[in-house]
């Protein structure tokens, strides 16, 4: 059966490197390679590739798992996202989407293709957030004192009737806003500031996507809540303090929620 000289295929060489050959064939290939330096060099180069990959990326497995990836955290965040959305969207049509527990989750799971396009808005908004919140002298193009002008201007550029939320009630002053390039054309970007200098931003862009549930994405320093309502994607970004960000999101949401407002 085991013939030292039986032809060895390239597939077998890969299987040999990856430990996928039965033991007897393993030995036969090893012996064959001893007589075929060219192929042996090829095999050695594949092993070297594998070693480099493991050396370069292997260490990640020993790092402590960050808090946000702990299962308890993932579960509670997921539930909280559902709950707060349900509370916020009580008046809105979207409620039907979430209420109903498992059915709601399945409906969300079924539209698996949509969230990725949806996620683009959040990543764009977070990029803008990180870029502009550190600006001291030029954080915005239009100052918050010109709210009416800014609203009109940005609405015109987006081709969408925008509202710039007033967040004074939760202690946030409107710093101002600017126009940004977004995934679908123009995007509007407003910045708010707390007395202690914490900054939150709101990003709005047209989105030809179905309405979504509220989603949260958090890094170590910044986090965002985002959703789509009535063909507009909204992203609220701020420091990674989930509760605080949720409060800001709720306040902003209540002012921009067209579906709900129309019904009132």
């Amino acid at each position: 059966m085991i013939d030292r000289n039986s032809p060895v295929t390239e597939d077998e060489l890969h299987a040999y490197v990856d430990g996928e050959l039965p033991p007897d064939r393993m030995n036969a290939v090893a012996a064959w390679l001893a007589d075929h330096p060219e192929q042996a060099a090829l095999v050695a180069s594949w092993r070297l590739q594998a070693d480099s990959i493991r050396a370069h990326f292997g260490a990640a497995v020993d790092e402590p798992v960050p808090q946000r990836l702990k299962l308890d955290q993932v579960l509670s965040q997921d539930r909280a996202a559902g709950r707060s959305w349900a509370a916020m969207a009580a008046a809105a049509a979207i409620a039907a989407f979430v209420v109903g527990g498992a059915a709601g989750w399945m409906a969300r799971g079924a539209s698996a293709a949509a969230p990725s396009r949806f996620d683009v808005f959040a990543s764009e908004a977070l990029d803008a957030h990180k870029l502009y919140v550190v600006e001291v002298r030029h954080p915005v193009e239009v100052p918050g004192s010109e709210r009416a002008h800014m609203t009109q201007w940005l609405s015109k550029r987006l081709g969408e009737d925008l509202r710039v939320p007033d967040l004074q009630s939760i202690g946030l002053k409107l710093v101002g806003g600017r126009l940004l390039p977004g995934p679908t054309g123009a995007a509007a970007f407003y910045m708010y500031e707390s007395p202690s200098g914490e900054r939150f931003t709101m990003y709005c862009a047209k989105a030809d996507l179905p309405e979504t549930a509220l989603r949260y994405t958090g890094g170590e320093k910044v986090a965002a809540f985002y959703w789509i309502d009535d063909k507009v994607a909204y992203v609220i970004s701020g420091p990674a303090d989930r509760e605080r960000l949720e409060k800001v999101t709720k306040a902003a949401y209540e002012q921009v929620d067209k579906t709900g407002t129309k019904k009132l």
């Binding site: 996928e20 480099s52 960050p66 993932v74 997921d78």
Partner: protein, 163 residues
């Protein structure tokens, strides 16, 4: 139920490693793992025994594909230092070379190679993750290895072969 979650939990470090190699960015990688975990936990009731680990790799691989597709709809932006030839010297040069070489691979080939080499999955398991026959996994691996070798040998990734 407890065992399902335990199995998920013990796989998290490996998922982070795989995601990091796929995305080459710690934050994006962890976002991907987080999304994977959310999906997995939501679909817990759909899981009827079997290999939790393979299932998680499948979810992560698919989510990453969606991510790459949505990136592809935006103008192609690649970090400036990511271009052209391998570095000739310097510490970490070897590591960055392999990173760049991986970046030149077609998505499916990169997934297959990383699942086998980094994650230690068998060909059969990779076939399940990718939803293709084992033969396809093997040809993806073979092409990935040729491409990486060419890249590291200094031959530019000439023409990317489709098929």
């Amino acid at each position: 139920m407890a065992t399902f979650r335990q199995n998920v939990e013990t796989t998290i470090p490996a998922l982070r490693r795989y995601a990091r190699a796929l995305t080459r960015d710690t934050d994006i990688a962890d976002d991907l793992v987080q999304d994977t975990l959310v999906r997995a936990l939501r679909s817990e009731h759909l899981f009827h025994g079997g290999d939790v680990r393979g299932w998680l790799y499948t979810i992560l691989t698919n989510l990453n594909r969606n991510r790459l597709r949505s990136l592809a709809r935006r103008p192609a932006l690649s970090p400036i230092e990511d271009n052209d030839a391998p570095d000739l010297a310097g510490p970490e040069a070897g590591g960055r070379d392999i990173e760049r070489a991986l970046a030149t691979l077609v998505d499916d080939q990169r997934n297959a190679l990383l699942l086998v080499v980094l994650e230690g999955l068998s060909y059969r398991e990779v076939a399940e993750v990718q939803g293709v026959p084992i033969g396809t996994v093997m040809s993806r691996l073979a092409r990935a290895r040729v491409q990486i070798k060419n890249y590291l040998d200094g031959a530019r990734p000439a023409l990317r072969r489709v098929k």
